[in-house]
């Protein structure tokens, strides 16, 4: 029984991370280091709660997070791909924009500096052994396979990967680098938006300022640990989810100050970075491609 509640909360805590990590993965395969995933999730979370608040339909909220995430990601893409901006710093900057804007809008819409009002959550399903889960768990499972299939088994996936490995080579055989990078960003944006929605209307049922709490960066680390493999990403994100679940259980059971338990996922991520170098990173990820500069 104890194990099943632990697994149940691991799945709940790991799912948003997994979605975000898939987004980071796809953009990395297309050659973009997506440090903006944090803001991507946060914006998706905000829009899903807002639309749910307006319509009373959490499914609409979930759907709304997709275009929201895509718009965010396209803006980031425009600065990085078209504006040739520094990928990491652009991502960080756009995170700030979203953190600032959502907090301002929070007080405008709900007249509160911290929390939104409660909104209905996504339909929850009671599963044997796995406990109560939101239906987005199933959506996520499908998306993992879909992302793998897209990257490894389709022509478009091959092109996206070629752009991330060697954009000059791709360009020289007529693969439109800009187009496929934007495509990767669109997919990443949709996944990141869903990740935020899963967090907000899938589980919490409200919006809190900065509610993503660096989950975007944890997702980024999870992708590194997984060696940029979509199936391994499932394991690494669920592991971080498990740590979070253990931490929450321990809060109620053990006599350890809460602060130290809260550190757990961040501490383990930090330590894991010692053992896993970023070796599998697509070769051109993080670099700006300018045609003709070879």
């Amino acid at each position: 029984m104890e194990l099943s509640t632990l697994i149940s909360s691991m799945l709940r805590l790991g799912t948003p991370l997994l979605l975000a990590a898939l987004g980071v993965l796809v953009s990395a395969k297309g050659g973009i280091v997506n440090m903006g995933m944090e803001g991507n999730m946060l914006f998706g979370a905000f829009m899903s709660v807002y639309v749910t608040y307006l319509t009373g339909q959490p499914m609409l909220g979930l759907l709304a997070s997709i275009p929201a995430g895509i718009i965010y990601s396209l803006i980031l893409g425009a600065f990085i791909i078209k504006g040739r901006g520094h990928q990491v710093v652009c991502g960080l900057g756009l995170n700030f924009v979203v953190i600032g804007c959502t907090t301002v809008l929070l007080s405008v819409v709900w007249n509160s500096s911290g929390y939104s009002t409660d909104v209905p959550r996504l339909p929850q399903v009671k599963l044997p052994f796995l406990g109560q889960q939101s239906i987005s768990l199933f959506i996520t499972a499908v998306l993992v396979v879909a992302v793998w299939f897209f990257l490894e088994k389709t022509n478009t996936g091959l092109r996206v990967r070629s752009v991330g490995e060697n954009p000059a080579a791709a360009d020289s055989v007529g693969v439109d680098v800009v187009k496929y990078q934007f495509l990767a960003m669109v997919i990443a944006g949709a996944l990141g938006g869903l990740a935020g929605a899963e967090l907000a209307v899938g589980q919490m049922g409200y919006f809190i300022k900065q509610m993503t709490a660096s989950k975007g960066f944890l997702a980024y680390s999870a992708v590194i640990f997984a060696g940029y493999n979509p199936y391994a990403v499932v394991l690494t994100t669920m592991f971080i989810g498990l740590l979070d679940a253990v931490q929450m259980r321990a809060q109620t059971m053990l006599n350890i100050p809460g602060q130290f338990l809260l550190m757990l996922p961040y501490l383990v991520t930090l330590l894991a970075l010692i053992f896993v170098g970023d070796k599998k990173k697509p070769k051109a990820a993080g670099k700006t491609y300018v045609r003709g500069s070879f």
């Binding site: 440090m35 425009a78 600065f79 990085i80 078209k82 504006g83 040739r84 901006g85 520094h86 990491v88 710093v89 652009c90 960080l92 900057g93 756009l94 995170n95 700030f96 924009v97 979203v98 953190i99 600032g100 804007c101 907090t103 301002v104 809008l105 929070l106 007080s107 405008v108 007249n111 500096s113 300022k209 709490a213 660096s214 960066f217 980024y220 680390s221 590194i224 100050p257 602060q259 130290f260 809260l262 550190m263 961040y266 501490l267 991520t269 930090l270 970075l273 010692i274 053992f275 170098g277 970023d278």
Partner: protein, 356 residues
């Protein structure tokens, strides 16, 4: 005075740089205005509130700017070596706590006490900054990710320390007030202390280090072309660690100056966002230590103004965070701003000729 063509060219480049920064700021303010419009407020009125408040309480601006100058340096020194210091957030707060604890735990002679507090804060900041630096040079992990992880660890640790170990107040998570011997004097009756001069002096010191010393040359070469630097015998890893440690020390010092010359104690979460604001300060100054003095003032004006805006309207103080984010992305994507400037230019020329 006659300028050589070389100096003229450089002057032109520099003024172009300034132009881009100004255009970026303008664009960001316009975007921010549109956002304010969305929230149902009048953008002109809002900016009016912000800037008038900032100038009516300029002491407040200078007090904040003291910290911003140092968190700006905390970003700009590592950037010159090719490392991004994302841990400023934790370094400021940890430095502040260190200073508060050292300042309230024991008495020291008047001149020595603040120096001891500041040194302690600098060491704390440097040690924290070294964690991502070591991870980067030894294991190749992204210093951005590790920096953020360290921030969270520090945040929880400080929360614990201020709630239990060093708690100095029954009501909230804060330390005791520092002794008078540890305080840095304020300038007259104003809100700001002589700490501002320490911060400004450090900007000039950094400028000297970067332009006139071997270590400055080596740090910059490591950032601009690590491979060529290695060929000339520069230990790139050691340079990035040194730069991060220096940056961390600056951030820690920033926290301590606010404790010793402003708040006089450490209060949990009081130091949030100072570190992140440093990123905008540094990027707006194009990482130039002297320019940081000006941009720190500017960010400080925004922040003080945003607090006023928060009180008078429903636009929260976080509006300034969003604005800073826009500054940052505009400033690191040169092609966007260049394209806009280029579009404006021919029009102006056409107008001029039409007027003739």
């Amino acid at each position: 005075m006659k300028l050589s063509s070389d100096k003229k060219a450089r002057l032109k480049w520099k003024s172009l740089d300034v132009l881009y920064v100004l255009v970026s700021i303008l664009l960001a303010l316009v975007a921010g205005g549109v956002f304010i419009l969305i929230t149902g407020n009048n953008p002109l009125q809002a900016y009016g509130i912000m800037f008038s408040k900032a100038f009516s309480s300029f002491g407040q601006v200078l007090r904040r700017a003291t910290v911003y100058i140092l968190t700006g340096l905390a970003v700009s020194i590592p950037i010159k070596t090719g490392v991004i210091n994302m841990g400023g957030e934790g370094q400021v707060a940890a430095g502040a706590l260190t200073a508060a604890v050292l300042g309230s735990a024991f008495m020291l002679p008047l001149g020595i006490h603040p120096i001891a507090c500041m040194l302690g804060a600098m060491i704390t900041g440097a040690v924290l900054a070294l964690i991502p630096a070591v991870f980067k040079t030894r294991f190749g992990s992204s210093e951005v990710v590790t920096g953020i992880m360290v921030n969270y660890l520090v945040q929880y640790l400080l929360q614990y320390l201020s709630m239990y170990t060093f708690r100095g107040s029954a009501n909230s998570a804060q330390t005791a007030e520092v002794f008078d011997s540890a305080k840095i004097a304020r300038v007259g009756d104003a809100q700001w202390s002589y700490g501002l001069f320490i911060a400004i002096a450090l900007c000039f010191a950094m400028h000297f280090v970067m332009s006139r010393t071997r270590v400055g040359l080596e740090m910059q070469s490591a950032g601009l072309n690590p491979l060529a630097a290695r060929y000339q015998g520069v230990n790139v890893g050691r340079m990035s660690m040194l730069a991060m440690a220096l940056g961390g020390a600056m951030a820690g010092l920033g926290g301590s100056l606010e404790v010793l010359g402003g708040r006089y104690l450490y209060l949990d979460t009081y130091f949030a966002s100072y570190g992140f604001d440093g990123i905008a300060v540094s990027y707006m100054a194009k990482n130039n230590p002297i320019m940081i003095i000006i941009t720190a003032m500017f960010i400080s004006v925004l922040k003080v103004g945003a607090v006023a805006l928060d009180r008078q309207t429903n636009v929260s103080v976080h509006f300034s965070t969003a604005l800073q984010g826009i500054f940052i992305i505009l400033l690191v994507s040169p092609y966007i701003v260049q394209a806009i400037v280029a579009k404006l230019k021919p029009k102006r020329k056409a107008q001029l000729t039409a007027e003739e």
